[in-house]
Protein backbone atom coordinates (compact mmCIF):
# COMPACT_ATOMS: atom_id res chain seq x y z
CA UNK A 1 0.00 0.00 0.00
CA UNK A 2 1.44 3.33 -1.07
CA UNK A 3 0.41 6.31 1.06
CA UNK A 4 -0.03 9.95 0.02
CA UNK A 5 3.16 10.69 1.95
CA UNK A 6 5.00 8.07 -0.13
CA UNK A 7 3.72 9.57 -3.38
CA UNK A 8 4.75 13.02 -2.23
CA UNK A 9 8.23 11.66 -1.48
CA UNK A 10 8.47 9.93 -4.87
CA UNK A 11 7.37 13.17 -6.53
CA UNK A 12 10.23 14.93 -4.73
CA UNK A 13 12.74 12.27 -5.81
CA UNK A 14 11.55 12.52 -9.40
CA UNK A 15 11.48 16.34 -9.30
CA UNK A 16 8.04 16.13 -10.82
CA UNK A 17 6.13 18.56 -8.63
CA UNK A 18 2.90 17.26 -7.10
CA UNK A 19 0.19 19.69 -6.02
CA UNK A 20 -1.74 18.90 -2.84
CA UNK A 21 -4.95 18.84 -4.89
CA UNK A 22 -3.71 16.00 -7.09
CA UNK A 23 -2.18 13.88 -4.36
CA UNK A 24 -5.26 11.77 -3.61
CA UNK A 25 -5.94 10.97 -7.27
CA UNK A 26 -2.33 10.09 -7.99
CA UNK A 27 -2.15 7.90 -4.89
CA UNK A 28 -5.29 5.96 -5.81
CA UNK A 29 -4.06 5.34 -9.34
CA UNK A 30 -0.59 4.51 -8.09
CA UNK A 31 -1.93 1.87 -5.72
CA UNK A 32 -4.03 0.17 -8.41
CA UNK A 33 -1.06 -0.01 -10.77
CA UNK A 34 1.45 -1.15 -8.15
CA UNK A 35 -1.01 -3.80 -6.98
CA UNK A 36 -1.12 -5.06 -10.57
CA UNK A 37 2.71 -5.11 -10.64
CA UNK A 38 2.63 -7.55 -7.73
CA UNK A 39 1.97 -10.35 -10.23
CA UNK A 40 5.74 -10.24 -10.71
CA UNK A 41 6.13 -11.84 -7.27
CA UNK A 42 5.15 -15.11 -8.93
CA UNK A 43 7.89 -14.95 -11.58
CA UNK A 44 10.25 -17.88 -11.20
CA UNK A 45 13.96 -17.90 -11.95
CA UNK A 46 16.80 -15.52 -11.40
CA UNK A 47 18.37 -15.72 -14.84
CA UNK A 48 18.21 -12.28 -16.39
CA UNK A 49 19.73 -13.70 -19.53
CA UNK A 50 23.02 -11.87 -19.37
CA UNK A 51 24.56 -12.86 -22.64
CA UNK A 52 27.84 -12.08 -24.28
CA UNK A 53 27.00 -8.42 -24.69
CA UNK A 54 29.65 -5.79 -24.99
CA UNK A 55 29.72 -2.03 -25.31
CA UNK A 56 30.18 -0.59 -28.77
CA UNK A 57 32.31 2.52 -28.54
CA UNK A 58 33.65 4.65 -31.33
CA UNK A 59 37.31 5.51 -31.59
CA UNK A 60 38.21 8.38 -29.28
CA UNK A 61 38.89 11.00 -31.90
CA UNK A 62 37.42 14.43 -32.55
CA UNK A 63 34.72 14.48 -35.20
CA UNK A 64 32.67 17.33 -36.67
CA UNK A 65 29.84 18.41 -34.36
CA UNK A 66 27.15 21.07 -34.15
CA UNK A 67 28.35 24.69 -34.08
CA UNK A 68 28.23 26.30 -30.63
CA UNK A 69 25.29 28.60 -31.41
CA UNK A 70 23.24 25.79 -32.95
CA UNK A 71 23.91 23.50 -30.00
CA UNK A 72 22.65 26.21 -27.65
CA UNK A 73 19.70 27.07 -29.87
CA UNK A 74 17.12 25.26 -27.77
CA UNK A 75 18.49 26.07 -24.32
CA UNK A 76 15.94 27.66 -21.99
CA UNK A 77 18.17 30.59 -21.06
CA UNK A 78 21.67 31.61 -22.06
CA UNK A 79 24.35 33.96 -20.75
CA UNK A 80 27.76 34.67 -22.28
CA UNK A 81 27.50 31.66 -24.56
CA UNK A 82 26.62 29.26 -21.74
CA UNK A 83 23.37 27.61 -20.61
CA UNK A 84 22.01 29.55 -17.63
CA UNK A 85 20.83 27.29 -14.82
CA UNK A 86 19.16 27.84 -11.45
CA UNK A 87 21.39 27.93 -8.40
CA UNK A 88 22.28 24.58 -6.86
CA UNK A 89 23.21 25.76 -3.36
Amino acid sequence: MVSEKDVEHIGELADIGIDAAELATFTGQFNAIVEYFDVLDKVRGDDTGARDLYNILREDKVEPSLPHDVALGNAGAQEDGFIKAPRVM
Binding site: L13, A14, I16, Q29, L40, D41, K42, N74, G76
Partner: protein, 432 residues
Protein backbone atom coordinates in the same frame (compact mmCIF):
# COMPACT_ATOMS: atom_id res chain seq x y z
CA UNK B 1 14.54 19.25 -55.63
CA UNK B 2 10.91 19.84 -56.56
CA UNK B 3 8.42 21.53 -54.23
CA UNK B 4 4.96 20.07 -53.70
CA UNK B 5 1.83 21.62 -52.27
CA UNK B 6 0.56 19.93 -49.12
CA UNK B 7 -2.48 21.48 -47.50
CA UNK B 8 -4.61 18.62 -46.18
CA UNK B 9 -8.10 19.12 -44.83
CA UNK B 10 -7.13 17.81 -41.38
CA UNK B 11 -10.49 17.25 -39.71
CA UNK B 12 -8.96 14.70 -37.38
CA UNK B 13 -6.16 16.72 -35.71
CA UNK B 14 -3.71 14.23 -37.18
CA UNK B 15 -1.00 16.83 -37.76
CA UNK B 16 0.77 19.07 -35.25
CA UNK B 17 2.80 20.77 -37.98
CA UNK B 18 2.22 20.81 -41.73
CA UNK B 19 4.92 21.56 -44.29
CA UNK B 20 2.93 23.32 -46.99
CA UNK B 21 5.66 23.21 -49.62
CA UNK B 22 7.74 20.15 -48.82
CA UNK B 23 10.66 19.45 -51.12
CA UNK B 24 10.98 16.09 -52.80
CA UNK B 25 13.82 14.60 -54.77
CA UNK B 26 14.60 11.57 -56.83
CA UNK B 27 14.77 8.02 -55.58
CA UNK B 28 12.55 5.15 -54.46
CA UNK B 29 10.12 7.53 -52.75
CA UNK B 30 10.34 10.31 -55.30
CA UNK B 31 7.72 12.96 -54.68
CA UNK B 32 5.80 10.94 -52.09
CA UNK B 33 4.67 12.99 -49.07
CA UNK B 34 5.63 11.12 -45.88
CA UNK B 35 4.33 12.14 -42.45
CA UNK B 36 6.61 11.81 -39.44
CA UNK B 37 5.55 11.17 -35.86
CA UNK B 38 6.38 14.14 -33.67
CA UNK B 39 8.91 12.30 -31.49
CA UNK B 40 11.26 11.82 -34.46
CA UNK B 41 13.67 14.70 -35.01
CA UNK B 42 13.31 16.74 -38.20
CA UNK B 43 15.88 19.44 -38.88
CA UNK B 44 14.27 22.87 -38.89
CA UNK B 45 10.74 21.55 -38.21
CA UNK B 46 9.27 21.94 -34.73
CA UNK B 47 9.30 18.62 -32.86
CA UNK B 48 7.34 18.55 -29.63
CA UNK B 49 6.55 14.93 -28.71
CA UNK B 50 3.04 16.39 -28.30
CA UNK B 51 4.26 17.99 -25.07
CA UNK B 52 4.10 21.55 -23.82
CA UNK B 53 7.63 21.15 -22.47
CA UNK B 54 9.05 20.89 -25.99
CA UNK B 55 6.85 23.56 -27.57
CA UNK B 56 9.11 25.58 -29.83
CA UNK B 57 11.90 23.00 -29.98
CA UNK B 58 13.53 23.01 -33.41
CA UNK B 59 15.90 20.06 -33.86
CA UNK B 60 19.26 21.00 -35.36
CA UNK B 61 19.56 17.64 -37.15
CA UNK B 62 17.48 14.92 -38.81
CA UNK B 63 16.88 11.51 -37.29
CA UNK B 64 18.70 8.84 -39.32
CA UNK B 65 15.38 7.42 -40.60
CA UNK B 66 14.25 10.89 -41.71
CA UNK B 67 17.55 11.52 -43.50
CA UNK B 68 17.11 8.22 -45.35
CA UNK B 69 13.51 9.03 -46.30
CA UNK B 70 14.61 12.42 -47.64
CA UNK B 71 17.52 10.94 -49.57
CA UNK B 72 15.06 8.51 -51.19
CA UNK B 73 13.22 11.52 -52.63
CA UNK B 74 10.28 11.72 -50.25
CA UNK B 75 8.85 15.04 -49.12
CA UNK B 76 8.39 15.47 -45.36
CA UNK B 77 4.72 16.48 -45.20
CA UNK B 78 4.53 17.32 -41.52
CA UNK B 79 4.65 16.10 -37.95
CA UNK B 80 1.88 13.92 -36.61
CA UNK B 81 0.03 13.98 -33.32
CA UNK B 82 0.74 11.36 -30.67
CA UNK B 83 0.38 10.53 -27.02
CA UNK B 84 2.78 12.80 -25.15
CA UNK B 85 6.28 11.28 -25.38
CA UNK B 86 4.68 8.09 -26.76
CA UNK B 87 2.91 7.30 -23.49
CA UNK B 88 -0.56 6.02 -24.29
CA UNK B 89 -2.84 3.81 -26.34
CA UNK B 90 -5.31 6.35 -27.69
CA UNK B 91 -3.60 9.65 -28.69
CA UNK B 92 -5.80 11.32 -26.08
CA UNK B 93 -2.70 12.20 -24.04
CA UNK B 94 -1.50 14.86 -26.49
CA UNK B 95 -1.02 18.34 -25.03
CA UNK B 96 -2.48 19.67 -28.29
CA UNK B 97 -5.78 17.76 -28.24
CA UNK B 98 -6.67 14.22 -29.28
CA UNK B 99 -6.62 12.85 -32.80
CA UNK B 100 -9.95 11.45 -34.05
CA UNK B 101 -10.34 8.11 -35.78
CA UNK B 102 -11.23 8.75 -39.45
CA UNK B 103 -13.41 5.63 -39.44
CA UNK B 104 -15.57 7.04 -36.63
CA UNK B 105 -14.71 10.44 -35.20
CA UNK B 106 -16.30 9.53 -31.88
CA UNK B 107 -13.59 6.94 -31.34
CA UNK B 108 -9.85 7.07 -30.66
CA UNK B 109 -7.37 6.29 -33.44
CA UNK B 110 -5.24 4.19 -31.07
CA UNK B 111 -1.86 5.25 -29.85
CA UNK B 112 0.66 6.42 -29.56
CA UNK B 113 1.22 6.85 -33.32
CA UNK B 114 -2.44 7.83 -33.75
CA UNK B 115 -1.72 10.92 -35.83
CA UNK B 116 0.38 8.95 -38.32
CA UNK B 117 -2.31 6.26 -38.60
CA UNK B 118 -5.12 8.79 -39.04
CA UNK B 119 -3.13 10.71 -41.68
CA UNK B 120 -2.74 7.51 -43.71
CA UNK B 121 -6.28 6.21 -43.09
CA UNK B 122 -7.80 9.53 -44.17
CA UNK B 123 -5.72 9.52 -47.36
CA UNK B 124 -3.81 12.67 -46.42
CA UNK B 125 -0.47 10.91 -46.97
CA UNK B 126 0.50 7.61 -48.56
CA UNK B 127 3.02 6.67 -45.90
CA UNK B 128 4.07 7.66 -42.40
CA UNK B 129 6.74 6.92 -39.84
CA UNK B 130 5.61 5.82 -36.40
CA UNK B 131 7.34 4.46 -33.34
CA UNK B 132 6.46 1.32 -31.40
CA UNK B 133 7.43 0.95 -27.73
CA UNK B 134 4.66 -1.40 -26.58
CA UNK B 135 2.45 -1.55 -29.68
CA UNK B 136 2.33 2.10 -30.72
CA UNK B 137 2.48 1.35 -34.45
CA UNK B 138 0.37 -1.81 -34.48
CA UNK B 139 -2.42 -0.53 -32.20
CA UNK B 140 -3.35 2.56 -34.26
CA UNK B 141 -2.86 0.58 -37.47
CA UNK B 142 -5.46 -1.92 -36.19
CA UNK B 143 -7.89 0.74 -34.92
CA UNK B 144 -7.69 2.83 -38.14
CA UNK B 145 -7.63 -0.06 -40.63
CA UNK B 146 -4.15 0.37 -42.09
CA UNK B 147 -0.90 -1.64 -42.07
CA UNK B 148 1.88 -1.03 -39.55
CA UNK B 149 5.18 -2.85 -39.03
CA UNK B 150 7.17 -2.94 -35.81
CA UNK B 151 10.59 -4.00 -37.11
CA UNK B 152 13.08 -6.21 -35.30
CA UNK B 153 14.84 -4.17 -32.61
CA UNK B 154 18.05 -2.80 -34.08
CA UNK B 155 17.03 -3.04 -37.70
CA UNK B 156 16.05 0.63 -37.94
CA UNK B 157 18.27 3.23 -36.31
CA UNK B 158 16.82 5.07 -33.29
CA UNK B 159 19.24 7.98 -33.77
CA UNK B 160 17.13 11.11 -33.56
CA UNK B 161 14.17 9.39 -31.91
CA UNK B 162 13.49 11.32 -28.70
CA UNK B 163 13.97 8.50 -26.23
CA UNK B 164 11.24 7.23 -23.92
CA UNK B 165 12.19 3.57 -23.33
CA UNK B 166 15.33 2.76 -25.30
CA UNK B 167 15.39 -0.99 -24.88
CA UNK B 168 11.85 -1.39 -26.25
CA UNK B 169 11.15 1.26 -28.87
CA UNK B 170 11.77 1.26 -32.59
CA UNK B 171 10.86 3.42 -35.59
CA UNK B 172 8.71 1.68 -38.20
CA UNK B 173 6.64 2.16 -41.37
CA UNK B 174 2.88 2.70 -41.66
CA UNK B 175 0.84 2.74 -44.90
CA UNK B 176 -2.49 1.71 -46.41
CA UNK B 177 -1.11 -1.53 -47.82
CA UNK B 178 1.67 -4.06 -47.26
CA UNK B 179 3.60 -3.14 -50.42
CA UNK B 180 4.01 0.47 -49.27
CA UNK B 181 5.02 -0.62 -45.78
CA UNK B 182 7.63 -2.88 -47.37
CA UNK B 183 8.84 -0.05 -49.62
CA UNK B 184 9.25 2.37 -46.73
CA UNK B 185 10.97 -0.33 -44.66
CA UNK B 186 13.47 -0.87 -47.49
CA UNK B 187 14.43 2.81 -47.20
CA UNK B 188 14.78 3.11 -43.41
CA UNK B 189 16.41 -0.24 -42.48
CA UNK B 190 20.16 -0.65 -42.21
CA UNK B 191 23.18 0.11 -40.10
CA UNK B 192 23.82 3.51 -38.54
CA UNK B 193 27.07 4.21 -36.71
CA UNK B 194 25.28 6.78 -34.52
CA UNK B 195 23.16 4.07 -32.83
CA UNK B 196 25.14 1.48 -30.88
CA UNK B 197 22.23 -0.98 -31.03
CA UNK B 198 21.91 -0.67 -34.82
CA UNK B 199 22.44 -3.87 -36.79
CA UNK B 200 23.81 -4.23 -40.31
CA UNK B 201 20.69 -5.92 -41.66
CA UNK B 202 19.37 -4.00 -44.67
CA UNK B 203 15.93 -4.88 -46.02
CA UNK B 204 15.75 -5.48 -49.78
CA UNK B 205 12.67 -7.68 -49.94
CA UNK B 206 9.81 -7.70 -52.44
CA UNK B 207 6.64 -9.10 -50.84
CA UNK B 208 5.61 -12.58 -51.96
CA UNK B 209 2.13 -14.05 -51.49
CA UNK B 210 3.40 -17.62 -51.62
CA UNK B 211 3.04 -18.93 -48.07
CA UNK B 212 2.55 -22.62 -48.88
CA UNK B 213 4.10 -24.70 -46.12
CA UNK B 214 4.38 -21.81 -43.66
CA UNK B 215 3.76 -23.04 -40.12
CA UNK B 216 1.66 -20.66 -38.05
CA UNK B 217 1.49 -20.92 -34.27
CA UNK B 218 -1.75 -19.84 -32.62
CA UNK B 219 -1.05 -18.92 -28.98
CA UNK B 220 -4.09 -19.68 -26.84
CA UNK B 221 -3.39 -16.59 -24.70
CA UNK B 222 -4.21 -14.37 -27.71
CA UNK B 223 -7.78 -15.64 -27.63
CA UNK B 224 -8.25 -15.76 -23.87
CA UNK B 225 -9.97 -13.64 -21.24
CA UNK B 226 -10.24 -9.95 -22.07
CA UNK B 227 -10.31 -10.49 -25.83
CA UNK B 228 -13.66 -9.50 -27.34
CA UNK B 229 -15.18 -12.72 -28.78
CA UNK B 230 -16.32 -10.83 -31.88
CA UNK B 231 -12.74 -9.64 -32.52
CA UNK B 232 -11.42 -13.15 -31.89
CA UNK B 233 -13.92 -14.59 -34.38
CA UNK B 234 -12.83 -12.18 -37.14
CA UNK B 235 -9.16 -13.00 -36.54
CA UNK B 236 -9.82 -16.77 -36.50
CA UNK B 237 -11.59 -16.44 -39.83
CA UNK B 238 -8.58 -14.55 -41.21
CA UNK B 239 -6.26 -17.31 -40.01
CA UNK B 240 -8.57 -19.78 -41.77
CA UNK B 241 -7.95 -17.88 -45.00
CA UNK B 242 -4.20 -18.23 -44.45
CA UNK B 243 -4.73 -21.99 -44.16
CA UNK B 244 -6.63 -21.99 -47.43
CA UNK B 245 -3.62 -20.23 -48.96
CA UNK B 246 -1.37 -23.12 -47.97
CA UNK B 247 -0.25 -22.43 -44.41
CA UNK B 248 -0.67 -24.92 -41.59
CA UNK B 249 -1.62 -23.93 -38.06
CA UNK B 250 -0.35 -25.27 -34.75
CA UNK B 251 -1.96 -24.52 -31.37
CA UNK B 252 0.58 -23.32 -28.83
CA UNK B 253 0.98 -21.45 -25.55
CA UNK B 254 3.07 -18.58 -24.16
CA UNK B 255 2.87 -19.11 -20.37
CA UNK B 256 5.04 -16.05 -19.68
CA UNK B 257 2.27 -13.82 -21.11
CA UNK B 258 0.89 -13.72 -17.58
CA UNK B 259 3.71 -11.42 -16.52
CA UNK B 260 4.34 -9.56 -19.79
CA UNK B 261 2.22 -6.50 -19.16
CA UNK B 262 3.53 -5.86 -15.65
CA UNK B 263 7.12 -6.46 -16.79
CA UNK B 264 6.61 -4.08 -19.69
CA UNK B 265 5.23 -1.26 -17.56
CA UNK B 266 7.95 -1.62 -14.92
CA UNK B 267 10.68 -1.52 -17.55
CA UNK B 268 9.26 1.28 -19.70
CA UNK B 269 8.49 3.54 -16.76
CA UNK B 270 11.94 2.89 -15.27
CA UNK B 271 13.61 3.87 -18.52
CA UNK B 272 11.29 6.88 -18.88
CA UNK B 273 12.19 8.16 -15.41
CA UNK B 274 15.80 8.35 -16.53
CA UNK B 275 15.30 9.54 -20.11
CA UNK B 276 12.91 12.35 -19.28
CA UNK B 277 15.21 13.85 -16.62
CA UNK B 278 16.75 16.00 -19.35
CA UNK B 279 13.53 17.99 -19.78
CA UNK B 280 14.14 20.52 -17.07
CA UNK B 281 13.67 23.94 -18.62
CA UNK B 282 17.42 24.42 -18.75
CA UNK B 283 18.68 22.27 -21.61
CA UNK B 284 15.18 21.93 -23.12
CA UNK B 285 11.85 23.57 -22.45
CA UNK B 286 10.69 27.05 -21.50
CA UNK B 287 13.33 28.92 -19.50
CA UNK B 288 13.06 28.38 -15.75
CA UNK B 289 13.25 30.99 -13.01
CA UNK B 290 17.00 31.03 -12.36
CA UNK B 291 16.67 32.88 -9.04
CA UNK B 292 14.95 29.87 -7.50
CA UNK B 293 16.94 26.87 -6.33
CA UNK B 294 17.61 24.03 -8.78
CA UNK B 295 15.00 21.58 -7.49
CA UNK B 296 12.28 24.19 -7.04
CA UNK B 297 12.80 25.56 -10.55
CA UNK B 298 13.08 22.06 -11.99
CA UNK B 299 9.84 20.92 -10.33
CA UNK B 300 7.93 24.02 -11.45
CA UNK B 301 9.00 23.50 -15.06
CA UNK B 302 8.07 19.82 -15.07
CA UNK B 303 4.75 20.32 -13.29
CA UNK B 304 3.75 22.87 -15.90
CA UNK B 305 5.34 21.15 -18.90
CA UNK B 306 4.33 17.51 -18.53
CA UNK B 307 0.82 16.08 -18.71
CA UNK B 308 -0.56 13.72 -16.03
CA UNK B 309 0.30 10.45 -17.82
CA UNK B 310 3.95 11.45 -18.28
CA UNK B 311 4.23 12.54 -14.66
CA UNK B 312 2.58 9.31 -13.49
CA UNK B 313 5.00 7.16 -15.49
CA UNK B 314 8.07 9.09 -14.35
CA UNK B 315 6.95 8.57 -10.75
CA UNK B 316 6.20 4.88 -11.30
CA UNK B 317 9.67 4.40 -12.76
CA UNK B 318 11.29 6.31 -9.93
CA UNK B 319 9.39 4.12 -7.46
CA UNK B 320 10.30 0.85 -9.24
CA UNK B 321 13.99 1.75 -9.24
CA UNK B 322 14.11 3.09 -5.70
CA UNK B 323 16.05 1.44 -2.93
CA UNK B 324 14.03 -1.35 -1.35
CA UNK B 325 11.80 -1.93 -4.38
CA UNK B 326 14.35 -2.54 -7.13
CA UNK B 327 14.51 -6.29 -6.47
CA UNK B 328 10.74 -6.63 -6.18
CA UNK B 329 9.92 -4.83 -9.42
CA UNK B 330 12.76 -4.04 -11.82
CA UNK B 331 14.87 -7.15 -11.28
CA UNK B 332 11.79 -9.40 -11.46
CA UNK B 333 10.63 -7.64 -14.62
CA UNK B 334 13.95 -8.41 -16.27
CA UNK B 335 13.59 -12.09 -15.35
CA UNK B 336 10.07 -12.07 -16.78
CA UNK B 337 11.41 -10.44 -19.94
CA UNK B 338 13.96 -13.21 -20.35
CA UNK B 339 11.26 -15.84 -19.82
CA UNK B 340 9.24 -14.22 -22.61
CA UNK B 341 12.25 -14.29 -24.92
CA UNK B 342 12.73 -17.99 -24.14
CA UNK B 343 9.06 -18.74 -24.75
CA UNK B 344 9.20 -17.09 -28.18
CA UNK B 345 12.47 -18.92 -29.03
CA UNK B 346 10.89 -22.25 -28.03
CA UNK B 347 7.84 -21.62 -30.23
CA UNK B 348 9.87 -20.37 -33.19
CA UNK B 349 11.85 -23.62 -33.19
CA UNK B 350 8.62 -25.27 -34.35
CA UNK B 351 6.65 -22.58 -36.21
CA UNK B 352 7.57 -19.80 -38.65
CA UNK B 353 5.23 -17.11 -37.37
CA UNK B 354 2.64 -16.57 -34.64
CA UNK B 355 -0.79 -15.08 -35.33
CA UNK B 356 -3.47 -13.48 -33.20
CA UNK B 357 -5.42 -10.26 -32.80
CA UNK B 358 -3.44 -7.02 -32.59
CA UNK B 359 -5.82 -5.48 -30.06
CA UNK B 360 -8.32 -7.19 -27.75
CA UNK B 361 -11.15 -4.84 -28.80
CA UNK B 362 -12.09 -2.43 -31.57
CA UNK B 363 -11.24 1.26 -31.11
CA UNK B 364 -12.84 2.55 -27.94
CA UNK B 365 -14.75 5.78 -27.65
CA UNK B 366 -13.00 9.04 -26.78
CA UNK B 367 -12.90 9.37 -23.00
CA UNK B 368 -14.13 5.80 -22.48
CA UNK B 369 -11.04 4.67 -20.59
CA UNK B 370 -10.29 7.26 -17.94
CA UNK B 371 -8.61 4.86 -15.53
CA UNK B 372 -4.87 4.42 -16.33
CA UNK B 373 -4.75 0.71 -15.44
CA UNK B 374 -7.66 -0.20 -17.72
CA UNK B 375 -5.88 1.67 -20.53
CA UNK B 376 -2.65 -0.23 -19.81
CA UNK B 377 -4.54 -3.55 -20.04
CA UNK B 378 -5.33 -2.75 -23.70
CA UNK B 379 -1.67 -3.37 -24.53
CA UNK B 380 -1.67 -7.00 -23.38
CA UNK B 381 -1.34 -8.48 -26.90
CA UNK B 382 1.32 -6.14 -28.26
CA UNK B 383 3.89 -5.69 -25.48
CA UNK B 384 5.39 -9.23 -25.55
CA UNK B 385 6.84 -8.47 -29.00
CA UNK B 386 8.68 -5.39 -27.70
CA UNK B 387 10.03 -7.26 -24.68
CA UNK B 388 11.46 -9.92 -27.01
CA UNK B 389 12.59 -7.47 -29.72
CA UNK B 390 10.99 -9.49 -32.52
CA UNK B 391 9.18 -8.14 -35.63
CA UNK B 392 5.39 -7.94 -35.87
CA UNK B 393 2.89 -6.48 -38.30
CA UNK B 394 -0.77 -5.54 -38.06
CA UNK B 395 -2.85 -5.95 -41.22
CA UNK B 396 -6.59 -5.20 -41.50
CA UNK B 397 -8.61 -8.44 -41.51
CA UNK B 398 -12.25 -7.46 -41.21
CA UNK B 399 -14.59 -5.40 -39.08
CA UNK B 400 -16.72 -5.53 -35.94
CA UNK B 401 -19.48 -2.92 -35.69
CA UNK B 402 -18.04 -1.39 -38.88
CA UNK B 403 -14.71 -0.75 -37.11
CA UNK B 404 -11.46 -2.33 -38.33
CA UNK B 405 -9.85 -5.36 -36.70
CA UNK B 406 -6.11 -6.06 -37.03
CA UNK B 407 -4.47 -9.43 -37.61
CA UNK B 408 -1.10 -9.47 -35.83
CA UNK B 409 1.69 -11.59 -37.32
CA UNK B 410 4.84 -12.04 -35.23
CA UNK B 411 8.11 -13.49 -36.50
CA UNK B 412 11.61 -14.61 -35.57
CA UNK B 413 14.23 -11.89 -35.00
CA UNK B 414 15.33 -10.38 -38.34
CA UNK B 415 12.63 -12.26 -40.25
CA UNK B 416 10.68 -9.09 -40.93
CA UNK B 417 10.47 -10.32 -44.53
CA UNK B 418 8.47 -13.35 -43.49
CA UNK B 419 5.87 -11.41 -41.49
CA UNK B 420 5.57 -9.06 -44.47
CA UNK B 421 4.95 -12.05 -46.77
CA UNK B 422 2.24 -13.55 -44.57
CA UNK B 423 0.54 -10.15 -44.29
CA UNK B 424 0.86 -9.67 -48.05
CA UNK B 425 -0.61 -13.12 -48.72
CA UNK B 426 -3.58 -12.30 -46.52
CA UNK B 427 -4.01 -8.88 -48.12
CA UNK B 428 -3.87 -10.31 -51.64
CA UNK B 429 -5.94 -13.43 -51.09
CA UNK B 430 -7.64 -12.89 -47.79
CA UNK B 431 -10.90 -11.39 -48.83
CA UNK B 432 -13.51 -14.14 -49.38
Amino acid sequence: MSALRFEPDDKYNAFLAVCKEPKGGSGKLSGIPVAVKDNISTQGIETTCASKILKGYIPPYDAHAVALVKSAGAAIAGKTNMDEFGMGTSTENSAFGPTLNPRDTGRVPGGSSGGSAAAVAAGMVRMALGTDTGGSIRCPAAFCGIVGLKPTYGRVSRYGLIAYANSLETIGPMAANVSDVSLLMSVIAGHDKHDATSQDRPYTHTPSADIKGTRIGIPQEYFGAGVDPAVAAVVKKAIGRLEELGATTVPCSIPSMEYALAAYYVICTSEASSNLARFDGVRYGPAVETKKSWHAAFQDARREGFGPEVRRRIMLGTFALSSGYYGKYYAKAQVARENIRKDFARLFADVDVLCGPTMPTIAFRLGEKSDPLSMYLSDILTVPVNLAGIPAISVPCGTVQDMPVGLQIMGRPFEDERVIDVAYAYEQGGQP
